[in-house]
Every structure is written in C-alpha cells, then in structure tokens.
Symmetry: C2
Subunit: 333 residues, 2 copies
C-alpha cells in the first residue's frame, strides 16, 4: 500500500495537482463543486499531505519547539500542565510540538531553527541572565519566553504576575485582620539561580504588607519535611504572634501543614495559611489550602497564541503578565 500523494488525489478527482493544493490551503478561490469533488477524493483515498514536502515547498514546518527545563527546583506537575496546554493549543492552530530539553542549550535551538525543523520557539523557565537570549534575538524564527530575562527588550515574554500574586496573599491576610505575617519561599538555590519569579513574589508580598502596615518577613525554604519543620518552628519561636503564613513552594506546602500540626497550631484557627501553588496540590492538602494558583494552562495557551501571532507577522506586546487568582479554601480565616 503505497502512500497516497496529492497527485493521486488530483487524478481521482479529475483536476490538477495545484487545484487540490488550493482547495486544501484555501489560498485561491475554488468553485464549490470542484472543492467538494476534491474533498471527497481526499477522504476516499485517506490522503495526508507529506509534512516534509509541504515544509520544503512552503517554508513552513507547522511545528514549534518547546524547550523545557529539566532541573531541580522546578515544579513538575505545573510543567506538565504547561506542556499539555502548549500541545493542545498548538494543535488548534494546526501545529505540532517538538520537545527539547534545556540541556541542548543554545546550539540545540540554533540547530532546529537553522534546519527549518521548527517555525518558532517556546522557552520555559528563562533565567535572568540566560545564555540563550542573545541567540534568540539574532534568530530569524520568532520565539516566546516564559519568564523574564534581565532585559526583555525586543523579546516576547509571558509569565504569571508573581509580584501581584505575593501582594494578593498579603492583601488577603490583611483583610482577614492578621497583623503579623510571613512568607516561606522557594529553596535557597532558586534565588541564587536568579530565576526572578521567586524574588518578585517576595517583593510583592513585602511591599503589600508594608502598605497595610503589617509586620512581615520573607525567607527561602527548603523542601524536606525536617527542614520545613525547623523553619516553621524557628519562625514561630521568633514571632509568637505570627498568625498568617504564605507558602510559595509546592513541595513544602504539605509539610508546612504537617509541621504546624505537630507544633500544636491549628489551621486556620491559630494560623492562616495561604499557598501559591497549583490547585491540585492545594485541594489535596488537609485542610485544603487557600491558594493563588499558577495558571500554567493560561500561560501555555497565551504563549502559543503569541507565537502564532508572530508567525503570522503580527506585532505582539513584549511583555504579558497573567493576573493571579486567589481561591479561598479552608486554611485561612
């Protein structure tokens, strides 16, 4: 069973090859009757355009690259959610997704771009001083970044508005009447890497707390139960009146609840806890966590849309910040 080509379809429908092509692409008007005849033949023969030939002739591969970081400190569930939403959205635009890992580095990006394997690039978890950014500026292929490098000039970046997320938590606790609050953040290594989002959350939190006139401080937090336990204990020892806790660390969120339980503090009666984490984690915890979710799906969808717009040659904003959303559950009052 030889694979069926556009010529087979043309013959079957009794038209020229180019006519079939125009029916399929819609780039020229074709009479309704001819169009239908062609479409019927396509169906009858089970025709699928050859991707390579199409790419060669049209200079469009209809594939985008998705570059995922694969490193400690990343939240896997969020990453998967993101990847899924990218794939799903890309398919809506009739594109496929080539998966790459960050360890291929700038060379890898250059390779897939230069070989015309992909039409555009989507990079996740861009760092403040990312070595790939200069390359992206140079590349003919459009790209969209998740996260912000130091200088987003000339790039297209999407991210959750982490500063707003931090602020939202502080606002929520302030509204509930808490006077002393704190934020437990990502592991120290994340701040050292300068990924940006962690600092921005802290900054937003501290700034909002200050605006409300609250006692607040923010510190990194490791992910093992013991370290979380120690951190929470230290915090409570230092500031006995602390009644509001924000956790921006998915892995630690559950442990914080466990530690409070062991330390004899009830949630939310004694301490209100707000997490910045995916909904599934917040819901699974007990008590269910009031949380600001990282809208991985939105980010992915939005990133693909921007990329598609750029592929069409449209102008897009350099920076897109997605509004965080607070969901109130059982852990705060």
């Amino acid at each position: 069973m030889r694979t069926v080509t556009i010529a087979d379809v043309a013959k079957h429908a009794g038209v020229a090859v180019s006519t079939v092509s125009y029916v399929l692409s819609g780039k020229r008007a074709i009479s309704a009757t001819t169009r239908q005849r062609v479409l019927d033949s396509v169906r009858a023969l089970g025709y699928h355009p050859n991707a390579g030939a199409r790419a060669l002739a049209s200079k469009r591969a209809k594939v985008i690259a998705l570059v995922l970081p694969l490193r400690a400190g990343m939240n896997l569930p969020v990453l998967m959610q993101f990847a899924t939403s990218v794939v799903t959205t890309a398919r809506q635009y009739d594109h496929d997704v080539l998966l790459m890992t960050a360890d291929e580095g700038a060379d890898g990006l250059h390779r897939v771009a230069a070989s015309a394997l992909v039409d555009g690039l989507l990079l996740m978890d861009v760092e403040i001083h990312d070595p790939r950014v200069p390359l992206l500026r140079k590349l003919a292929e459009p790209s969209v970044l998740i996260g912000f490098p130091a200088d987003p000039e000339g790039l297209t970046c999407v991210d959750l508005d982490f500063a707003r997320a931090g602020a939202l938590c502080a606002d929520h606790l302030a509204d509930l009447g808490h006077r002393e609050i704190a934020l437990l953040g990502a592991p120290r290594v994340v701040y050292e890497r300068g990924t940006g989002f962690a600092e921005r959350t802290m900054a937003g939190f501290v700034e909002a707390a200050r605006r409300h006139g609250l006692e607040a401080d923010a510190r990194p937090c490791e992910e093992s139960f013991d370290e979380v336990h120690a951190a929470v204990k230290l915090l409570l020892d230092e500031r006995p009146a602390l009644s509001g806790l924000v956790v921006h660390n998915e892995a630690a969120a559950g442990h914080v609840l466990g530690a409070l339980r062991i330390l004899g503090r009830r949630v939310p009666e004694d301490v209100s806890v707000v997490a910045i984490c995916p909904d599934d984690i917040a819901e699974r915890a007990s008590p269910a966590l009031t949380s600001v979710l990282i809208p991985a799906e939105d980010v992915g969808r939005q990133a693909v849309r921007l990329l598609m717009a750029k592929l069409e040659g449209q102008a897009v904003p350099e920076s897109t910040l997605l509004e965080p959303r607070l969901t109130i559950r059982e852990s705060s009052r």
Copy 2:
C-alpha cells in the same frame, strides 16, 4: 542572510552537491582530502541541512513521536524523567522528539505517521485494552509501548518488572523478620482503568509474601492526606501486629509517614516502610524511605533503543522487562 544550502557548500568546496551529501551521510567512500575540504566549508558557512528536504528525499524524518498520557493518577515526576531520557537518548541517535498527548487518540497517531512527520512512535502508559493498539499493528511505522496491553503479540513493549518489584519489597521485609505486612497501592481508579502495572505489583507482592509464609494483604489507596490517614489507621486497627508496609503510590508515600507519626508509630522502630517510587521522593521523605525505584530513565533509554533498532529493520524482542532495584534507606529495619 539567506539560509545556506547544500549547493552553497558544494560551490564553496568546489565539489558536486552529491559529494557533499555523501560526505555528510557517509554512504559512499570519499577521499580524505575532499572530505576535509567539504567539512571545512560546512563549518565556514554554518551549514545545517534542511530537515524538510532531507525528509522528503530520504523518506526519513529523523523524528519520533512521544505520546504522553495526561491523566489523573499518573506520576508526573516519573513522567518527566521519562520524557527527558527519551529526548536525550533520541538525540544520541540524531533524532528529535515530537510531543503528543494521548487525547489526540488513534487519529493523531495516524496523522503524524501518514504525513511522515515522524518515523516511529513511542507510547506511554498503554492500557490493557488500548484502542490505539490495533492501529499500531497496522501502521507501517514502527512503535514501542511502555506498558503492556492485553495481547502484546506483534508489538514491542517495555516496562519495569512490577511483579518483581512487589516481590522484592516482600522479600526485603521477610528478610528483616517481619511477619505481618501489607501493601498500599495506587488510587482505586488506576486499578479500574486496568493499566496493569498496579495489579502486577500487588500480585508479585502477595505471591512473594505467601512464599515466605507471611500474613499479607494489599489494597488500593487514595492520595489525599485524610484518606491515607484513614487507610493507615484502619489497617493498624485491623491488624495491630502489622510491622511492614509497602507503599506503591508516590503521592501517598509522604502522607503515610505523616499518618504513622500522628498515630504514634515510629518508623522504622515500630513499622518498617518500603516505597515503590522515584528516588527523589524517597530521599526527600523523612525518614528517608527504603524504596524500589521506577527506573524511568532506563525505561526511556531502552524504549528509544528498541525503536531505533526497529527503524534500522532489526528484529527486537516483543517484551522487555526491566529489573527493579531496591535501595535501603532509613525507613526499614
């Protein structure tokens, strides 16, 4: 800056286009001097073969599809590990990876195969009665499955030997002198879906325990703290002498430790716990969990190797079971 083609390289090196092609593919002998001249030109011009043209002419896209499930019950970290190892291994064979989600279904597989977008398929999390399996049998493109459908006849399947994994846990606990043990498995929905691996673990565990003459039982286990807590409590109430617990559920593993802590059982003094989970989860728990790891990396690497072998036309075994490995940590004695 027009993109450089093989013709540019040929001109620059003063040879025929075909000569350049043969240098690059190594499919015909080329004299050392000519080869070097060509290679120099390639470097000088920064030539990257056009993927579409290459695919069209050679009928090989050098791309494989990776089909990931995106469903509840899957362990995300393992999945990512797996995806990473697939991408990395594929790159070693000079192939790229197209990411697909299971929700594209059989049609999606047919599409990418028929359009010659990919040369082969890698499916994860195949179910006992997977609707995609009949298609795979029919497809000209080779495929490799992770997991086993009911009838693996004519397919190529790879998986951890879950039965051995379950048995290994029982063996370990038996060796330590425990007489009453139990296994807490995946959420009920996983068994209902008939994915296979969960049952096989249970079966291996029960069988090995019986062989050792131990009291053993095995039951599903949900993932929220409260449900885990309840399950553990029930287990302990029913069988006060229980001293060995196997957890085959990454999400629940940490909660089991928390529940035991609350129920006043020390680990490992009162109860030994063994988990079947990725190493990172086992190490992060406190106490660190003795565990049988799911060798996601091995599985990915092996799957890609098999697929590459099939692409070369080599015969490969229908079934490949990867040996589990037990790592003893603090949670068992």
